[in-house]
């Protein structure tokens, strides 16, 4: 403990008088409140809280006080300086917040501006729809098979029980490929008229059980119009296993249309004739557009199904044992089912495409909206 200071100035220091401190404090607080921006506040800070500020100078005078006065003066000055600093801090935050808000306002943009700098591309809906159909079956365990578009007649017809000169062979208006021999021999090669030759190729290649789908492009000698195209697309399905039945075919078709068109879709099989299936059926599904409500209702005609309530999707049936034999599969042991559907037609009514030509003219205005997947 030091000895008491006996040599103090008997005159009280002017600057440390309570009213003086209070006045300095008021001045400081007023200046802080008056600071309009961060720059002004910085000046205020220097003036009222800096080393040369009145309160800082007053603080230095404390040492000159008699000991009994020091504590009180120190407390008084300290409190005043504390209040100034607090006020500075609050004002600082206020002004910063104001500045930040102002900057955000100034930086605002029109977010509705377009930015179509590189126009979007798109895949063709026929491509993506074929993938979608295939994926329904891939999810069930099927694999995707492929075959050539220029195909040997044996695969396109003979192996599928299209007997030469049988009327069925003429039903499909076939593009024939020219042979390259000078004798003018027939080449025995055609543009495949359906995806069914892939059935034969698959069976020749693989041992049952076989579960495959084959989406692809096929050809018939039709001129292009609103509902026909010489080039169109099919998806073929083939299942060959022990004990497959027509009920399995029906169940598989039901699953497909529900997966593609919605859970409430229904299918209908009608007897029909195809050389490569026996029994054969034509498959219809409830009209996707009117859901059958146009039937017998002339006020609400449906163009999609001609008010029949059903849309024809394609042919199907149990693989003709003759096809199995031609491909080396024992029909006593195995049975199978198959179908082939027109992808283009399915796309047309699923997406309201009114004219077949739109799908083949390559107009970007048609394709772009379909994007990457459908």
């Amino acid at each position: 403990m030091s000895a008491p200071n006996k040599s103090y100035d008997p005159v009280e220091v002017e600057a440390l008088k309570p009213e003086e401190i209070a006045a300095r404090l008021d001045e400081a607080l007023a200046a802080i409140a008056a600071a309009a921006d961060l720059e002004a506040l910085r000046e205020v800070k220097v003036a009222h809280a800096g080393d040369r500020s009145p309160l800082a100078l007053a603080n230095r005078e404390i040492g000159a006080l008699p000991p009994h006065a020091k504590a009180e003066a120190g407390k008084r000055v300290g409190q005043a300086r504390g209040r100034v600093n607090q006020a500075l801090k609050v004002r600082q935050e206020e002004l910063e917040a104001e500045r930040d808000a102002r900057v955000l306002v100034e930086e605002a943009v029109d977010v509705t501006l377009p930015h179509d700098r590189v126009p979007a591309g798109a895949r063709h809906p026929l491509t993506t729809f074929m993938e979608r159909v295939a994926d329904v079956f891939v999810a069930m365990g099927y694999e995707v098979a492929e075959g050539p578009e220029v195909e040997a007649e044996w695969f396109n017809f003979d192996a599928l029980n299209f007997v030469p000169d049988h009327p069925a062979r003429q039903m499909q208006d076939t593009f024939f490929v020219q042979g390259n021999s000078t004798e003018g021999d027939e080449s025995g090669v055609v543009l495949r008229t359906h995806t069914s030759p892939v059935q034969a190729r698959t069976l020749v290649d693989r041992e049952p059980p076989v579960y495959v789908v084959c989406p692809g492009r096929v050809y018939r000698t039709d001129e292009l119009d609103a509902t026909h195209s010489p080039v169109f697309h099919q998806i073929e399905l083939l299942a060959v296993d022990e004990g497959l039945t027509m009920a399995d075919l029906k169940g598989t078709l039901d699953h497909m249309v529900r997966a593609l068109f919605g859970p409430d879709m229904k299918t209908r099989l009608r007897p029909n004739y195809f050389p490569f299936t026996e029994p054969s059926a034509e498959m219809d599904m409830v009209c996707y557009v009117c859901r059958g409500e146009s039937v017998g209702n002339p006020d609400r005609p449906c163009r999609t199904c001609s008010s029949e309530g059903w849309i024809e999707l394609g042919g199907c049936g149990m693989v003709n044992p003759k096809v199995l034999i031609a491909c080396g599969v024992d029909p006593e042991k195995y049975s199978g089912f198959a179908f082939g559907f027109g992808i283009d037609r399915m796309l047309m009514f699923r997406h309201n495409v009114e004219d077949m030509r739109d799908m083949f003219e390559g107009d970007v205005r048609f394709t772009r909206p379909f994007g990457m997947e459908i």
């Binding site: 694999e143 050539p148 003429q170 027939e186 080039v231 059926a281 970007v364």
Partner: protein, 841 residues
Amino acid sequence: MRVPLSWLREYVDLPATESGRDVQAKLIAVGLEVETVERLGDGLKGPLVVGQVLTIEELEGFKKPIRFCTVDVGRANGTGEPQEIVCGARNFSVGDKVVVVLPGAVLPGDFKIAARKTYGKTSHGMICSGDELGMGDDGTHGIIVLPPEYEVGTDAIELLELVDEVLDIAVTPDRGYCLSMRGVARETAIAYGLPLRDPALLDVPPPNSAGYPVQVSDPMGCERFTARTVTGLEPEARTPLWMQRRLQKAGMRPVSLAVDVTNYVMLELGQPLHAYDRTSVDGPIGVRRATPGEQLTTLDGTKRVLDAEDMVITDNRGPIGLAGVMGGANTEIAAPVADPETGRLHGTTDVVIEAAHFDALAIARTARRHKLSSEAAKRFERGVDPEAASAAAQRTVDLLVLLAGGRAEEGVTEVVSPRGPRTITLPANHPDKVAGVDYGRETVVRRLQQVGCDVYGQDELVVTVPSWRPDLSEPNDLAEEVIRLEGYENLPSTLPKPPAGRGLTERQRMHRRVGRALAGAGYVETLNYPFTGSAVLDQLGIEPDDPRRAAVTLVNPLSDEEPDLRTTLIPGLLNALRRNYGRGTHDLALFETGPVFRATGDEKPASRLVVDRRPTDDEIASLDASLPQQPRRAAVVLAGGREQAGWWGDGRPGIWADAVEAGRTVAREAGVELIVRQDQHAPFHPGRCAALLALVDGEEILVGNAGELHPRVIKTLALPERTCAMEIDLDRLEQAAGGPLRAPKISVFPVATQDVALVVDETVPAADVEAALRDGAGELLESLRLFDIFTGEQLGAGKKSLAYALRFRAADRTLTADEASAARDAAVAAAVERTGAVLRG
């Protein structure tokens, strides 16, 4: 096959309330494709009556001759007074019986009849033509003149059977028997569970030797030939109205009585018939194959040169008919002609009727060879009931006797090569196994009997199929009969359990990725027809020996200008580009993926392999060798702006570099880093063409080309300026694809960046400089990027400065400045050595 419901009811007692649509639904369910139900006379309302023309006054002074008539319509007009009617037709005279529609009536098409002023007279009704009554036009556009026996005032709606429904059935090739009323009636009877009155059940006298002589020298091609003779036909005899109407409703035009009767019986029983004018047949009728070069003029007036496979009907002079397809003009039934002096009618009085059964295949080939599809050929091709031939002949004889006053001669010729009945053996539960349904033996047997089979046996059924069902030959055919009659709609819905699948193949995934990547880069996919011609290759400036000239050619193209299949995707894409451009879209980036077709020149004709066993691997290989190469390609074309101008700044046109980059985009999806080299290749600009290469087994192979099109090509094909293109072979890329990617190791030590600018000759490819820098920099180089190219006077003519940013980093330490500089110096040194580069100070 058009089936009038009223006619169908003759064989099956359908409930009176059953409508055409009801029958349609039933027949569809058993497998007949009833495409439409036509409602004849829909909305028709009388009075429509028989009238007799009393007076005709010719009205003069109009643009066309007009008649003002008075017609006796009996009490039908309420007064019994003659009806005054204006008529524009001229094919009638005073005394003729005609069909008159009176005011208040409504004709088909909601045509309301009222008295109206016309040509200065008031017409109280109309004298009707067949067209106006919905009977079909006979080609004359005249009014109907009825046979004289009908009384005036008779209701013509009933008389002409104007109200009816007609089912139009698309008969599938296996159901030839449904090209007859008899066949459709049989299916209808089964569908309704009603008995059938079989029109073929007729009393037929046994064959004898007094019939017209027939010699069949090809019993394989003609297993049956029935000939009957009817004499004394009255030339005046006309086809009765009911028969005319049935023929019309079935879609045939009435011609003359003898011809109409043969057509009618064909429609009824499905047996094609032919009637020869006996006086013009010279000697016995023969059936044989034609001798090559023989000629025959058929009924349609066409002179045909015959093939050795064609089956012909002959007499002493030679062919008088193309068997089963069309008769010859030289024995045609003569239409009655009035003698100009006596007014008596002369025409054919004696006919020989042929009801034969010809081989389906032979008829099909002949019909196709001569491009002659007749009603007869259509039926023979699909199979005619051989057992119905004599009944059909009998029915024809009966009708000619009844309707034409003829006399049936006693002679009955039948040349028959006996064929045994066809039987099929199948387990009784076979239909159950095919359907996945327990029908049970009893149901199976009952259904097979319904379609006309004889069935014996218990667990193993021995089934004799009816003569009219040549399509039934295998157990599954019989299964289909059972299942369809039990109803396809009653099949349960079950799912098989396939073995676990492997998903898409790597190749299939790659094809999908390529499409997505190009679309993601702003390209729009098009699916172009693969048909093309050599003209477009000429326009593209493709040389005669270019492999793209090795096209696959079609025998029967849709257009003679485009007989070939594409050997490159670019022309199709350019077509689409031009179409879009023409429709006002000018900023375009299109792509297509798909096969091109390249003839190898070594293709041998594909052999007709057997179908009773799997072909051998060699046989399959020979089939594949008959096919052209069909590699899968991807291609793009672009024109106009690649980036649009907007508030953000300028746009950017699509250029050669975008095309090259599209190639890189595709290759990347295949896991291949492309090597790009300068190239000269049609149809590209010689200075703006890149070869796209990839490494396969260490060897560079060409996978595609990219660049700007040659200005001459752009001009010739009228393309937008600076159109660019790229085409790349996906199959080759697949070969070049590496295995699964090895993940890069990521160093967390600091990067050292060094920029260098190198001056090289203008002709030095940047790719060479970059390759040298990479090689020289060594393994510390993390990445290298060309960020600027500069040319200018200070460099001197023919020089360019390439500025690269090099980033160095070590895996295990922070590089020192010296290490980084040394690596950079090594990189530069390699560039200096290999490309003659000079480091720019």
